[in-house]
């Protein structure tokens, strides 16, 4: 009686193991999809940009000329790299203080009943599609910027090089400001989490020595959460660098040397917007197509550097904070 029972049990165990293993193997393989996407992206872009890099070498990255006429092609993307940095820089300069203000308001100041609706509105800002920001920017926001900021500044401060030129509202500055709005949800929501994670015991200690609310925030909460906020800023930068549609519609789309960012009020071009603008004109197998893949690769590398950096900062933040709370 005993031995068949044992055999049965062993059989079931064996079956269980097989069924579970099957499931585990299946999910293990499918989970590799992230790796596969990363690989495909890297492979396609590297392979596609080989011709352009072979043709122009480093001058692809550091050249300013842009001549797509077949036979005499020259492609240098430095103006687009700088345009990307300029618009993202403006986005951070304007967007980060706003986001921090929102995060502080939500975590430290707002009455309970306001917290959920406000963070909800801020999240909706992220839900609006980029192309709608572009549409709104073209027909509404552009004129706000033009009439209330650019024209006054250019009238009185036009002699300063970065404010020179005739403002049209379709320029590096407008693109940067729309990016600032678009990174607010990212930076604000992560900063909010970072501030929420600051242990209450620190706030209590600070209040107990007679600090005002603002002093508690400035000297204790922000200082404790600074590396997390730094991570939030990097993630915001990542979003700004890769953002395409709204920028494409608002930056004015200059090419070649004229896209070199010299003034805030001139039209420019970013890596992403140059792809959206010009990619369709490139025919398959052409050097121009390879150029756009090369631009894509450049953007990919920037994005990877930024996001890996953000990842390192954020994991460190959570580890360090985890230890400090103990």
């Amino acid at each position: 009686m005993k031995s068949p029972n044992k055999q049965q049990i062993q059989k079931t165990i064996k079956f269980k193991i097989t069924g579970d293993n099957l499931f585990k193997t299946l999910t293990t393989i499918i989970a590799a999809s992230a790796l596969i996407i990363l690989f495909i992206t890297g492979y396609t872009l590297v392979k596609g940009s080989i011709p352009v890099v072979q043709n122009f070498g480093l001058s692809f990255f550091f050249g300013q000329q842009w001549n797509p006429v077949e036979g005499g092609e020259v492609f240098g993307i430095l103006p687009y790299i700088l345009g990307t940095l300029a618009t993202s820089g403006i986005a951070l300069l304007i967007g980060v203080p706003l986001s921090l203000g929102i995060a502080i308001f939500l975590v430290e100041m707002a009455p309970r009943s306001l917290r959920v609706p406000i963070s909800y509105l801020v999240e909706l800002l992220a839900a609006v599609p980029s192309v709608i920001y572009g549409l709104w920017g073209l027909s509404v926001f552009r004129y706000w910027i033009l009439n209330y900021i650019e024209i006054p500044i250019s009238t009185y401060l036009g002699w300063i090089p970065i404010f020179s030129g005739t403002p049209r509202g379709l320029d590096i500055f407008t693109a940067g400001v729309i990016l600032a709005i678009m990174i607010i949800p990212t930076v604000a929501s992560i900063s909010k989490e970072v501030l929420t994670a600051v242990p209450n015991s620190i706030r209590e200690g600070a209040y107990s020595i007679g600090a005002t609310k603002w002093e508690v925030i400035k000297r204790w909460v922000l200082s404790y959460g600074r590396s997390g906020i730094f991570g939030a800023i990097i993630l915001g930068l990542g979003r700004a660098v890769g953002e395409t549609m709204a920028v494409t519609m608002l930056i004015g789309n200059a090419t070649g040397t004229s896209a070199m960012p010299k003034s805030l009020f001139q039209s420019g071009q970013t890596l992403a917007s140059s792809i959206a603008n010009g990619f369709m004109e490139a025919t398959s197998g052409s050097l121009k197509l390879s150029t756009y893949l090369g631009i894509g690769l450049t953007l990919l590398i920037m994005s990877l550097l930024i996001n890996v950096g953000a990842h390192l900062v954020m994991t460190r933040v959570f580890k360090v904070k985890g230890g400090a709370v103990e």
């Binding site: 309970r112 242990p199 620190i202 200690g205 209040y207 020595i209």
Partner: protein, 274 residues
């Protein structure tokens, strides 16, 4: 809980009403009620804190003793949906009056918390100096002096004098708690509130803090919440016993521990519950 005990609680407590108005009292709580949302956690609590004494508040966990303590420097206001009624007098003036800002009260009534909470982003020196820097004390000589004096008073100076630049969290738990005491002392408060300051510490560190508390009463009035009855009997001059949000009995520590008037107090003291 049997019904007789509950009756005991609901009866008016003569000793509580008899707390005579003492003109020398440093602080007085008069009919303090506290609610969190709709839940009432303190019911008409009265207490007198005399200068240069240690007053212990004991009671089983959840009896409201920490909440009560936090009313003395308006820290309970930081909890969302906390509501308070009644008066807390500091030198005869109600600290809950409208024109009085809690920020100023907290400089006069310092606080030490259950878990040592030195500021992790600040050095030991800055931990002690932080409160003074808020009000703009910039003279480094004066600061140095006060920091040294506070650390000495907190019996921590000898242990950290060479490491003043190190982070406030780099020292041991007991040292951290004494650092927090020094942080409170640096503001030269009149009253120091301590919320179970030893509950996170080992026995040796606890002994040091207890000794320190007794020394502190030379200069300050100390109110200490503790769940440790032996500790209360060792260090306090007056003891208040709280139960379910009410003050059951208040009196000299020796009387409370040797001849409690209330049945509930007696049961708690003898360890029948809690």
């Amino acid at each position: 809980m049997t019904s007789t005990q509950e009756q005991n609680i609901s009866k008016p407590k003569p000793d509580q009403l008899q707390q005579e108005i003492d003109p020398t009292a440093k602080m007085r709580a008069i009919n303090v009620d506290v609610w969190f949302g709709k839940k009432q956690v303190l019911k008409s609590v009265n207490l007198t804190v005399k200068p240069n004494t240690v007053t212990a508040i004991i009671g089983p966990s959840g009896c409201g003793k920490s909440t009560f303590l936090r009313c003395f420097n308006r820290m309970h206001e930081l909890a969302p949906n906390a509501k308070m009624a009644g008066q807390i007098l500091l030198d005869g003036k109600d600290i809950y009056e409208r024109q009085i800002d809690p920020v100023q009260i907290r400089r006069r009534v310092g606080m030490v918390f259950q878990k040592p909470n030195p500021f992790p982003t600040m050095s030991i020196y800055d931990n002690v100096a932080a409160g003074l820097k808020l009000t703009g004390t910039k003279k480094s000589k004066l600061l140095d002096e006060i920091v040294r004096h506070s650390l000495e008073q907190a019996t921590l100076w000898d242990e950290v004098k060479d490491d003043l630049k190190k982070s406030g969290t780099s020292i041991s738990g007991g040292q951290q708690q004494r650092l927090c005491i020094a942080r409170a002392i640096a503001l030269q408060p009149e009253v120091i509130l301590m919320d179970e300051p030893c509950s996170a510490l080992d026995p040796i560190a606890t002994a040091k803090i207890e000794k320190l508390v007794i020394e502190l009463k030379q200069e300050y009035a100390v109110v200490i919440v503790t769940h440790n009855m032996q500790q209360a009997s060792r260090i306090s001059d007056y003891t208040a016993f709280m139960y379910l949000g009410e003050l059951i009995e208040f009196g000299e520590t020796r009387q409370i521990f040797e001849k409690p008037k209330n049945k509930l107090t007696e049961k708690y003291i003898t360890g029948e519950f809690g």
